[in-house]
């Protein structure tokens, strides 16, 4: 009960504060739209919001899934081999340090017209890094005794990975996944905004900008936040199922 009530109350208070701030300062909606301006914008473009929201969502999820596969593989490679870790780390850090906004036009030119591919690619590129790092740290900091209890029985490396290394890394993995979810959204929208004739919520934002429809721009921001929250809690549920043991019991 409290778990639902408190967040809802916080959101309501935030909206009231926002509405009040705009009203007190008497800002025009091109400076800052107020929550009451947003409903008409949502309603007018409700089908676009639904179809474009879906576009944004599926691309983000696909980009994220690729990031999980690639990130986990990279993390495994770096976690198990010190040489590869030392070799790959600076490369990965450098790659991660490049602002993805600068990569967007390059990718857009590389695969001209492949809007879906471009978007998924950027979502993936922006989000795999924390996953790779967390998995590699989780694996490389595994205490040797954990390996030894199975190795002393003649267990193979694969058995040690499945029975000990992988489950032990899951809490770190999910921590990184929560960061990656939000990053993947940023990636998707960067591409959707920049691509000409794009689709998705980013493109809707861009057309709001072109038409000076400020309430529409704010409405897109809110719908992105809603999608972000939804996907984040999907990860939280998965974490409870697969790594719930890592949670401290509070009673």
């Amino acid at each position: 009960m409290r778990q639902v009530f408190v967040p809802v109350l916080a959101i309501v208070l935030f909206l009231l504060f926002w509405e009040g701030l705009v009203w007190v300062n008497d800002w025009p909606n091109y400076k800052m739209a107020s929550p009451s301006d947003l409903w008409p914008a949502f309603w007018r473009f409700k089908w676009l919001f639904l179809t474009f929201g879906w576009e944004t969502l599926w691309r983000t999820v696909v980009g994220l899934l690729i990031a999980i596969v690639v990130g986990v593989l990279l993390g495994m490679v770096m976690g198990f081999s010190r040489v590869l870790r030392e070799g790959l780390y600076p490369l990965l850090v450098g790659f991660n340090a490049i602002p993805k906004a600068t990569v967007v036009p390059i990718v857009a030119l590389m695969f001209v017209g492949q809007h879906d591919l471009n978007t998924v690619l950027i979502a993936f590129m922006i989000s795999f890094f924390p996953i790779a790092v967390s998995v590699s740290i989780g694996l490389s900091t595994l205490e040797p005794e954990y390996r030894d209890i199975l190795r002393a029985l003649g267990a193979s490396q694969m058995t040690i990975f499945w029975k000990i290394a992988l489950p032990k890394t899951l809490p770190e993995f999910f921590g990184a996944l929560k960061v990656a979810v939000t990053l993947a959204f940023i990636g998707t929208n960067l591409m959707e905004i920049v691509s000409p004739h794009g689709r998705g919520l980013g493109a809707l934002f861009d057309s709001g900008k072109t038409n000076s429809d400020y309430p529409l721009m704010f409405a897109v921001l809110i719908s992105l936040a809603v999608l972000g929250i939804a996907l984040y809690y999907v990860v939280v549920v998965l974490e409870r199922i697969f790594a719930g043991w890592a949670e401290r019991q509070t009673d």
């Binding site: 190795r151 002393a152 029985l153 003649g154 058995t159 489950p167 019991q249």
Partner: protein
């Protein structure tokens, strides 16, 4: 080599070992020879960092000696074998498994003909023996340090290993819990025959649990002194406070002092 030594279940024969570190090579064992008879229980004591843990890893087959050989049941150890059970100072229980499932872990690796019901029954029996009946479904984090170490002992013994290797398993426990676990060890030894090697810093623990105490010299370690104890099998804590026990303790303490003086300074 005397013929009697060949009957030992564990046999370490002229083993030397050197670790290569970034700051150069570090010789840890130098021509170490010792044996443990079947169903014997030997405690190995020595100055910190003298290579005691290296001995356990050699016996478990986790490490290959640079020179010399290690034998279990008359066979040379070249790789890990499932006849060994290990317990460390850190109980290393898997946090995502219940206590029961933690104890059953080795049975998942060692190909045994036991049915899953028989495996579970085996684990439950052992947990009962160490006083953990009723805690089978708890998570390791819900147990105290001493209870976790009890579970760790059960895991080390669940596949009925010939050899039990204990690397300072009671080192992190408080004095009273430690004494409880010493008595549990004697109970386990009665019910579950095994040949034991105990690495410890605690001389009282050594003479309370073992049949024989071996003092290793400072690094690189070799056998400096061997003390056979008059008693085998279970004994009461009172026996730690007899004049004989005090005398044994004094001899061992003296030997440790000599071992430490023999070490190169700064190591």
């Amino acid at each position: 080599m005397t013929p009697a030594l060949h009957k030992d279940l564990i046999r370490i024969d002229g083993v030397s070992h050197t670790f290569t570190t970034e700051s150069g090579s570090l010789p840890v064992l130098d021509n170490l020879t010792l044996g443990v008879p079947e169903n014997g229980f030997t405690a190995i004591v020595g100055p910190s960092g003298c290579g005691k843990s290296t001995v356990t890893r050699l016996v478990a087959g986790l490490l290959k000696p640079d020179a010399g050989s290690v034998w279990l049941q008359g066979q040379e150890v070249t790789s890990p074998r499932s006849v060994v059970g290990m317990a460390f100072q850190n109980p290393v229980l898997l946090e995502w498994r219940s206590i029961l499932k933690n104890v059953m872990l080795p049975l998942e690796i060692v190909s045994s003909s036991l049915s899953s019901a028989a495996r579970e029954a085996r684990a439950r029996d052992l947990l009962k023996l160490v006083g953990l009946a009723g805690f089978e479904d708890k998570r390791p984090s819900e147990l105290s340090g001493g209870m976790r170490q009890r579970a760790s002992l059960c895991r080390a013994l669940v596949h009925q290993p010939e050899v039990l290797i204990l690397d300072e398993p009671f080192g992190a426990l408080d004095a009273f819990t430690r004494e409880d676990l010493w008595q549990t060890m004697h109970r386990l030894r009665e019910e579950e025959p095994f040949t034991g090697v105990l690495i410890t810093h605690d001389l009282r623990e050594a003479i309370f649990l073992a049949d024989e105490v071996i003092v290793l010299s400072g690094r690189p370690a070799t056998v400096q002194y061997t003390k056979a104890l008059p008693q085998r099998g279970p004994r009461s804590l009172d026996q730690l406070y007899t004049p004989e026990a005090t005398e044994t303790l004094n001899i061992l303490r003296e030997q440790i002092k000599i071992a430490r003086e023999g070490e190169e300074p700064g190591s």
